[in-house]
Symmetry: C2
Subunit: 421 residues, 2 copies
């Protein structure tokens, strides 16, 4: 039940955000238990893991190295948020009561009417959101960023400025996301084209049928841009049942035709969980042929994705926080460990290897969705390490304990459970 992006070519480089950063000083992290195994000592140089050895209390530490004593804590790789909305939240601001019409179209309109009052998009907002990611141990993200006639590409610039302001501690890929629709707003396709030209890793889309009322038109439009620039596509699809399944088939056709295998993702994709078993199996097989992937935020009031079937067929799945504490609703706190727990619960996972899988989707697998091919606690990996007081990965998943220490790109960002940068 493990999976990988083996069919996924290296993701395109982003001009918006440096994906990796390094710290020149040496850091030694001793006596930690990777994935609950035997204690090891990790050496970190230039922001990457340079050595992993069995723990030895007598090991000599270079004089100029900083030392973190892990005291036998559980070590996991940094969490990977594969479906974020880092540009919009009121996290850290006074409480904003839920308002507006409780439909997708209503939420979109409500957001556009009130985001300015909350400073969205803004460097301050994105910085607050990402500091909360870091506090919870998230060091990798693929974030959708609103692109529309109101803000143009400013949201993307703002998120990248905030990423840089946090010393690139969070490896970031950007999806230029037409939250307000594509065809129904003249000029949005041109914005997406400009975003891709400027180096956006992905362009997005949104419910081609129910938002634009033209599934073929929206998909043709965004696939044309992706083919032209060689970027990927990550499309929000809430449309359910056969309507959603039909649009996934349209996406698969276009993915193969454009040679975009390994670069096309369906976000949410509730439809996949809503089909009869035979119909579902056929759709999943088609997605696998097209090298498509899925991301889920583990919502509670819709049929869960058939994760076992998707992974068995070779359709990679990763997890994300979705937006949190925003104009769409008050829930969420940006903690990927809690998202993984919710995923495990809605998916009915109970055995140890299943609970561990949920954590893998939220770490090693999810990082591949942001262009990081190898993201673990091995020599050569970027030094993204989370320490927790937990017996083993399952215990960590079920209890969601405080992140005692977080190291991102070799930099200590959390110590004693508190942000230190």
């Amino acid at each position: 039940m493990s999976t990988s992006f083996s069919s996924n070519p290296a993701a395109p480089a982003s001009h918006f955000a440096e994906p990796r950063s390094a710290d020149s000083s040496r850091l030694d992290l001793v006596n930690v238990r990777p994935w609950g195994g035997a204690p090891v000592d990790l050496a970190i140089s230039e922001g990457f893991i340079s050595a992993v050895e069995p723990h030895d209390p007598a090991r000599p530490i270079p004089q100029d190295a900083r030392l973190v004593d892990g005291k036998g804590l559980l070590a996991l790789p940094g969490f990977a948020n594969a479906h974020a909305h880092t540009d919009k939240s009121w996290w850290g601001k006074p409480w904003v009561s839920y308002g507006g019409e409780a439909t997708t179209a209503g939420r979109i309109a409500h957001e556009r009417a009130h985001r300015d009052e909350l400073g969205i998009p803004g460097v301050e907002v994105s910085t607050a959101v990402m500091r909360e990611y870091l506090r919870h141990g998230t060091t990798v993200q693929r974030t959708h960023v609103d692109v529309d006639l109101g803000v143009g590409l400013r949201g993307i610039e703002v998120v990248c400025e905030a990423v840089a302001g946090l010393d690139n501690t969070i490896t970031t890929q950007i999806v230029a996301f037409p939250q307000d629709g594509v065809l129904r707003r003249e000029g949005v396709l041109e914005l997406l084209d400009a975003a891709a030209a400027a180096g956006a890793d992905y362009i997005g889309g949104l419910d081609p049928a129910t938002i634009d009322r033209d599934p073929v038109g929206q998909l043709d439009g965004i696939f044309r841009i992706a083919e032209k620039h060689g970027c990927g596509i990550d499309l929000h699809l809430h449309d359910g049942g056969e309507l959603g399944a039909f649009q996934i088939e349209l996406m698969a056709d276009r993915t193969i035709r454009a040679g975009l295998e390994g670069k096309v993702n369906v976000a949410h994709g509730f439809a996949v969980g809503q089909l009869s078993p035979a119909r579902q199996a056929a759709l999943i097989e088609r997605m696998a042929e097209a090298g498509m992937s899925m991301t889920t935020v583990s919502p509670l009031r819709v049929e869960p994705l058939p994760v076992r079937e998707l992974l068995a067929a070779g359709v990679p799945v990763a997890l994300g926080t979705d937006g949190f504490r925003d104009l769409w609703g008050p829930y969420g706190d940006g903690d990927m460990l809690k998202v993984a727990l919710k995923f495990a619960q809605v998916s009915g996972l109970r055995y140890d290897e299943e609970l561990t899988l949920a954590l893998e989707l939220a770490t090693t697998v999810g990082a591949q969705f942001a262009g990081v091919a190898s993201h673990n606690l091995s020599v050569g990996d970027r030094a993204d390490v989370v320490l927790l007081e937990a017996e083993n990965p399952m215990d960590a998943l079920v209890r969601s304990p405080q992140r005692a220490v977080v190291i991102a790109g070799g930099k200590i960002v959390v110590a004693g459970g508190q942000l230190v940068r």
Copy 2:
């Protein structure tokens, strides 16, 4: 959308556990914000709230009083766990991997085969569970306790001993729960009769159709005992759809016939969420006529209870943790605030008053399910107070922050987020 147990006569007194306890010394709790309102000073005497006044930094504090400076923290009443299994858990012990058959019957058999190895039932187990309740701010419980041919009534004795060992900080009512079936195990009805005779507040039942294969037989048996002793009934009903609805009707008939209005509860009751709207409305009306109530543990893989409809009809609803980290599965940590959050999410609650309602069900309303008629932050209420660093009740619900201070029956049990007893 508020509710009360106005039709509920005072619950029978328990011989097993003293429901209330008092501390003779005076405690002053200053500068706290009840339910997010203006800051107040609370005086606590003999374990009860004796005064609530607007916060006044110049207020004279009696020389012999202990003082807790709330520093403007949010204050809520202690949480009420209306569906607990305080007798069985491996909380605090090494990880136990999930095993056995993944069905209700399989879980029952697995539990009976392995509980001895984990010291279940045992004072140590129940104490560990309740210390975790206290750490999270729970000060009131209605707990189901296994009664079967293997352990007899020992589980109840053990839980009551553990409650007393914790200085009765947790107000407790007991359900004598035939987890292994009633009619299918000869001698269990006699055990339930003995438990009721000894003062159990409630006797339980379990899926009369699918476990005993005799819905009328099981229900007649337990209602006969309840009528004889004047105790209540709290029945686990997982049976779904029409099969579950039929058994709720059988319960309603017997409740009215026996004059047990206000004393009969359906736990879980998935069926109520699985009916057509018209059928559901009729069943809820019948439950209201019979003065029945419901408890839910907000499971994620089943249709949620129609909470708005239940409350509007006058069927009280309260929340519980269910068992956690036990031989039924690894999930849960005994935190009622997280249960309330899950309840709010599965119920689709988003507006401020709805989020506050979820907290009321987990505090003021839930306490009525354990025989506490008035449980709030008012003069005369037992001094069960939880302080959290949160802006308002909604913020507390969504973030589930650490419980900074917990006072139970006037005793400080948590300070600085840590258990101090």
